[in-house]
């Protein structure tokens, strides 16, 4: 009795509407970016990344040098004017990118790691572990984040590092929630069950089967949260709890300018910088989210608030 298949042996994987080959991964990700807002987002982010990388070349002045007259309005020499101690605002805005961008990334990476691990463990382990971890998450959620951040920053003294710590403390729970809900919905999927039946241990299944599936949505959330992180960071700096002078941090610069708002240029330009980069992250994140499957994007939106 030969094992000649009854079914049509020539059946090949069909070309579904998506590109039918192994390029698919590469083709699929940029698809989200191809949305006009996604492109705009990428472009603005790329712009700021370049600005940050080439700040020394781009900035016309030393961002710390106080050698111009104070409060010069925008002029051909100082495109964005000078501030209260005679520094060039443009140069400071340019150097500001070197601060906000990397810190936002570090922040989000830290939050993703802390929140992701806790959420994944809670979701996958379930039971008591889940209950306890989720109560902790609830606690941090109910905690008024900015008050917590203020208290931490006040306690540890204002500095960018402490602001980062403070923000991580208040932002990891949302990653924990998303990861948990994603893991929870994945945990009961049949491919995990199948994999376990084949002898995969539960820890291994978590790493091998769950993590890759959670990574996408979490990445999207992270993109959106990059914007939120920049906002929170600049907010803390605005309150004097973040960047320490003379660091050209955008929030701190707005705060400097706020006191003498009739010299509007000091506050307005760094504000535009913050707005543009946050907007870009949101554009990109939004476009990426559109590319996600509905279930993941639902867990995302549930967590985002």
């Amino acid at each position: 009795m030969t094992a000649a298949p009854i079914v049509d042996p020539k059946i090949e994987p069909d070309g579904l509407p998506t590109a039918p080959n192994r390029w698919s991964i590469r083709v699929r990700v940029p698809r989200a970016w191809r949305r006009p807002l996604g492109i705009a987002g990428v472009a603005i982010i790329a712009f700021w990344v370049l600005v940050a990388l080439f700040a020394p070349l781009l900035a016309p002045f030393d961002p710390l040098a106080q050698d111009s007259p104070r409060f010069l309005p925008p002029s051909p020499e100082h495109w964005m004017g000078t501030d209260g101690v005679g520094r060039d605002v443009l140069s400071r805005v340019i150097y500001g990118a070197q601060i906000s961008l990397p810190i936002a990334v570090v922040l989000v990476v830290l939050s993703v790691i802390v929140g992701g691990v806790i959420g994944a463990v809670a979701g996958y382990a379930g039971g008591v572990v889940d209950s306890i971890l989720m109560r902790v998450v609830d606690l941090f959620f109910a905690f008024p984040s900015i008050i917590l951040a203020m208290a931490i920053a006040a306690a540890l003294g204002p500095s960018l590092t402490n602001a980062v710590v403070a923000i991580v403390v208040v932002s990891w729970p949302s990653y924990a929630r998303v990861t948990r809900s994603l893991v929870l919905s994945l945990r009961s999927t049949n491919y995990i069950a199948a994999s376990r039946l084949l002898g995969t241990s539960s820890a291994r299944a978590l790493v091998r089967e769950v993590v890759p599936n959670v990574a996408g949505p979490v990445l999207v959330l992270a993109t959106l949260e990059l914007g939120a992180a920049v906002l929170l960071l600049s907010g803390l700096s605005y309150l004097g709890l973040g960047a320490v002078p003379p660091t050209p941090e955008w929030g701190a610069m707005v705060s400097d300018g706020a006191r003498t708002f009739n010299n509007w240029w000091i506050a307005v330009f760094p504000g535009i910088a913050i707005f543009s980069i946050v907007l870009a992250f949101n554009f990109l994140g939004d476009a990426l989210r559109d590319g996600l499957d509905p279930r993941s994007s639902k867990s995302l939106s549930d967590a985002e608030i």
Partner: protein
């Protein structure tokens, strides 16, 4: 059924409140500052006798864990301690500043709901049209704008330059606040038919509320849109259309009702976080609310006030979430019965 649900909720709230007190106290243990020095003047702080008297008077001479248990003892009696700064009971302070923030947050929420949900519906009814794309940019813009910066610009344009709105406070200077009924000046002045005060209260409220509403508008717009779209694709909306119902009725009764549940969740969380997030706006608009109280307490190491505010905001958060759940039940019968 409902009683049990309520009990469970209250249990969770108590647990959460306890957790928050513990964490806040633990946090204060980290605070390097000394409340006595923070509160006492230059000369007084140099006098150990005065410092000792101050510490004793405020229970600060006890070890932290003793303070913690004393605080807990008072807490169960509804006493949140006395603010070191204002020297009022923290509860009194919260009673004063809470309504101010509440008024601001509620107004902002109402604005955001009207604008955000309204535009969200508009966008969802005509998806992928130019208007929809424009609204998407508006919504993303709303959530991206640094609120402190927006406040500054709003004050500069509307108060300093155009002088349309006052820039600070809740009433004109010297104006007597309306009798305390709810603590919301607009409502109280309306209730007592005090039109001049009402006008002034509204005038002061508009600008900060608009600024505060901006990110929420963005959030609600996006949520309403996606939630509406999801529901519009549902069979039950198709059913309603197949029944030949007028489009207005279909949107109102069928689509909106289905789409509202997720929007209410967002609204609940957004409102709760607004109360805490008013810090920056209240700061700039000199709005005497919880946010500025929290900021002052944090920077003055006013421990009872910090714990009190944190607890208060957390409880509001819990209460709002509870309210959201109740609303769910009202809207969604599946939850009501299960």
């Amino acid at each position: 059924m409902f009683g049990r649900f309520l009990l469970k909720r209250i249990g969770a709230a108590v647990l959460l409140a306890f957790g928050i007190v513990v964490v806040t106290f633990a946090l204060t243990a980290l605070l390097p500052g000394d409340p006595a020095t923070a509160q006492l003047g230059e000369r007084a702080a140099a006098d150990p006798e005065i410092v000792a008297a101050y510490m004793k008077a405020n229970g600060l001479d006890q070890p932290l864990y003793t303070q913690f248990f004393i605080y807990l003892g008072h807490l169960v009696q509804g006493d949140l301690g006395t603010s070191l700064q204002s020297r009022n009971p923290v509860l009194t302070d919260l009673g004063q500043f809470g309504p101010a923030s509440f008024e601001l947050a509620v107004t902002a929420t109402v604005i955001a709901v009207i604008v955000g949900v309204g535009l969200g519906i508009v966008a969802a009814l005509r998806p992928d049209r130019p208007l929809d794309h424009t609204l998407r940019v508006v919504s993303l813009g709303g959530v991206s704008i640094p609120i402190f910066w927006l406040s500054l610009i709003a004050v500069f344009i509307f108060s300093t330059q155009l002088r349309i709105f006052p820039s600070s406070g809740r009433l004109n200077p010297g104006e007597t606040p309306p009798p305390h009924i709810t603590g919301l000046y607009t409502l109280d002045s309306l209730l007592t038919a005090n039109w001049a005060t009402f006008g002034s209260a509204v005038g002061h409220l508009i600008l900060p509320a608009l600024v505060l509403a901006a990110p929420m508008v963005g959030l609600l717009l996006r949520f309403t849109r996606s939630s509406m779209l999801e529901v519009i694709g549902n069979d039950y909306v198709r059913s309603a259309n197949a029944k030949g119902l007028p489009p207005g009725l279909v949107v109102r009764r069928h689509t909106l009702r289905g789409a509202l549940v997720p929007v209410i969740t967002v609204l609940g969380s957004a409102f709760a976080s607004l109360l805490a997030g008013t810090v920056l706006v209240e700061q700039i608009f000199a709005w005497p609310g919880i946010g500025s109280y929290a900021y002052r307490s944090a920077s003055n190491l006013d421990l009872p006030a910090i714990v009190g505010v944190t607890l208060f905001v957390a409880l509001v958060f819990i209460a709002v979430n509870f309210l959201v759940d109740v609303l769910y039940g009202l809207i969604d019968p599946r939850i009501r019965t299960s």
